[in-house]
Structures are given as C-alpha cells and as structure tokens.
Symmetry: C2
Subunit: 244 residues, 2 copies
C-alpha cells in the first residue's frame, strides 16, 4: 500500500489529493466510480478525518469528484463544455471533448405555428413552421434533445437528408442564408415522460433548458431552437464584458 | 360563466389561451396556483380535450403555465431574468423585476486558499483568501447563495460593513480597483443539506451553479464567485455572436 509522507513539506491533504487525482488520471479510478468513504481513507492512510474531508472538499470544488446526496462520493465524469465565445457544431463540440457524436431525427414535419413561433420568427399570417426534432448522442449516450423551428417558406429543407453538418450547408447553398447573431436563454426544467424516454433518464430529472433565436446575416429570424440538455453531462462557459 | 364563441374567426384554443392569460393578468389566477385539469376545462367550456391540450401546451411553451410531473398544471411565477449583455447588481436586478432585494452575510472570514483559489486568483504562495458568503433574497424569499473569494491582500475589506452596493464601491475608493471582464460557467448542481437549509428548499433539489472569475481594469483576477441559484426563480439571457 502507498503511504503518505508525514515528514514531507507538502501538507497531508494535498498528498491525498494528488494520490486520488493520479489514480483517476491513470485509470485506476474510473468516471462515475464510487470512492472510499471519509472513514475508510482515514483508517487506511492513518490520517485524521478532517484531513480527508479537506482533500475531498477541494476535489469536489475542482469538479474532479462529485458528492451525491445520501449515496457517497464519486469520480466526476468531465462534462462536455460548450464555449459560447467560440460556438461550434455539435459534431465539433464532441470532437473537442474527445467524444464521438451521433444523432437521430425523431420528427421532421410541417406544422401550424404557435404564437411563440409567430412572434419569434416574425411569421406571415397563416405561415406554418418546419419542426425538426433530433436526439444527439455523445459516445452513444443521449445528451440532448433539440427542437428546431424554421419559417415555413423554407420548406424544401423537408426533403433533405439532415445531419448535423448539412443543415446550415443547405441553408447557405440553396437559400444563401448564413447564421448571424443569436440570443440565448438558460434555465432549469424538469423533464417529462416523453423527454425522459429519449434521454434515458428518470422522469422529473432536472435538465438545462436552452432557448435560442438565431438570426441570419440580414438580422431576420432564421430559426428558433429549444434544447433540453442533460445537466450531468454538459456545461456552458460564457465570457461577459464589464461587470456591474 | 364566460363562454367561448364557436362562431368567432378566432380559433377556440386561442380563445381559451386568451381567457387564461387574462385571468392571470387580472389576478384571478395567482402565481403558483393550480389550474383546472384538461378534463375540467373541456367539460366547463364544452370543447374537445384536444383543444384544451393545445391551449395549455402553448401557454406552457410561453412560460405562462408550468406542468409539474404528476401534480398538474400551475401558473408560472415569472422568473427573475438576468441579461448577461447588460449586467447588473442584485439590487438593480430585483428592482427591474419588480422585487425588493434583501441579503444577509453568513460568513466573512480570512481562510487558507484552495488550489482552485491559487490558480484562478493567481495568488502568491501562502496568500490567504477572503471569503464572503451571502444569502440573497427577492421579496423576502431566498433565491441565491453566493460565495465570493478575494485575494488576501485586500483584507481590509473584512472590516467593512458589506451590502450589495458597497463592496465594489469600497474596492474602487480604497484600492482604485474596478471590475473589467469576466468568464462565467453554467451548470446544474444538486443542493446539499447546508445549501437547502439556507435556500429553504429540499436537499437534492436542482440548482443552477454559476462560477465566475471577475478581472479588474488591468486584467488581473479581482475575485472569484460561486453562486447557487434557485432554478425555479431565476433565468439567464445571453446574446451570442455568430453561430457555428
């Protein structure tokens, strides 16, 4: 068994942190694996529980470990991180995070516009919307369920074979439309049975709900998106300019 | 009893939407109040359940109503909205959202730096951090629990009477430091017992976890913040430039 060095200048809690961190790096501890309890670490390494607590608390704060209420402490699987200052397609996002992307279209329909569609997409009276519902996978695990709504006059996209890359290509090639600015909204949502089924989680689990209205190069609404994201798998980074 | 007009050009589902919307606007239906079931609406107004379903679905999508799994449909209390393109103090944020802000400092201590502190605040070896933990209230309801960490050399702020407005004023007046850019991270977190206690929610409830490193006018780290936010009370809006 490895021992901690009581004579070292490095505090014991830091030695324990390094030991756990190295075990994760070397694959001895795997993502989502439960680690020893405070008491077990304390007995095995002959250190105080306070020392263990400090080491674990820092690793939780650094998102290396995660505590689950009433279940114990686990190795945190790194979350897929989307940097809003450097937006990317889902395919590229997965690539950057070392994952293989996948996806499947669930719905591709022309439907009546809701009042939200009319307002956000600035539709003509009686104009319908194209709705594309897709499930997106990272390493075969469903991580997000997205609904895209396009103005009905773009309806020839209904005939296309849509995957992640091609959608914007079609808009550019066939319609000369490219994406411009957008406005996003972030909040928490509780998932319903339908969503839970596609995302392989329990009904009622918390999801990140991201809504976005994307404009084209002429600042006209190009589409709106409602995306439900597994909060245990995903996080967002955003720069913001000048606080207060 | 009010009736829906079957001879109107306005579709029945839109008439029902307007009726519910007006009842909320006029205060006949209050925030968080449970509304009638699909079947009850259908019986009372002699309309099909599909019509009711469509009206309720749109109102849920417009965040006027909210569905709670297994509990029914409720009037959604509007969430406090922080616009990241126009950041504001908590006090002003509440004012803009028609709420009265309140707050209480729970901790104000000088403590040893964690490795995260050292890295993000670019601390000197052995420099401590000032930790300020505060609970923030909107209309007397606790909505967020924030922890601010400042480099230890700013420790005279420990002697100050801190409320929302004064902190940045002190930094400006005493140290000539003003806030510049920042980087934020958004994710979902499960609240522990300590946090649940202060936020008056159940242990294990989902929270929005926002981490931020705020830089000063010279682009040096000024403080870092870890804020836990009630997802049922708060949402964020962010512009983003150029998608894909």
């Amino acid at each position: 068994m490895r021992e901690l060095d009581v004579n070292s200048k490095v505090p014991l809690y830091k030695q324990l942190k390094n030991l756990i961190f190295n075990d994760i790096r070397d694959g001895k501890l795997k993502p989502n694996q439960k680690i020893l309890t405070e008491q077990e670490w304390s007995e095995i390494y002959q250190i105080s529980r306070m020392t263990v607590r400090k080491a674990l608390a820092e690793l939780v704060d650094e998102e290396v470990l995660t505590k689950k209420q009433g279940k114990g402490t686990f190795v945190q699987e790194p979350k897929i991180t989307e940097d809003l200052s450097n937006p990317n397609s889902f395919t590229n996002l997965c690539k950057r995070n070392g994952k293989t992307s996948g996806g499947r279209t669930i719905k591709l329909v022309l439907q009546d516009a809701t009042e939200r569609d009319v307002k956000e997409l600035q539709l003509e009276p009686d104009e319908q919307v194209i709705r594309i519902e897709r499930i997106r996978m990272a390493d075969d695990l469903p991580v997000l369920l997205e609904n895209l709504f396009f103005p009905g006059h773009l309806k020839t996209i209904l005939a296309e074979n849509l995957d992640d890359e091609s959608l914007y290509k079609i808009l550019s090639n066939k319609y000369g439309l490219v994406t411009g600015n957008s406005v996003m909204e972030f909040e928490i949502s509780e998932c319903n049975k339908y969503e839970a089924n596609y995302l392989c989680i329990k009904t009622g689990s918390p999801l990140l709900l991201v809504r976005e209205v994307v404009y084209d190069q002429y600042n006209r609404p190009l589409h709106r998106t409602k995306t439900l994201i597994r909060g245990d798998k995903f996080k967002y980074i955003s720069p913001r300019m000048k606080v207060i």
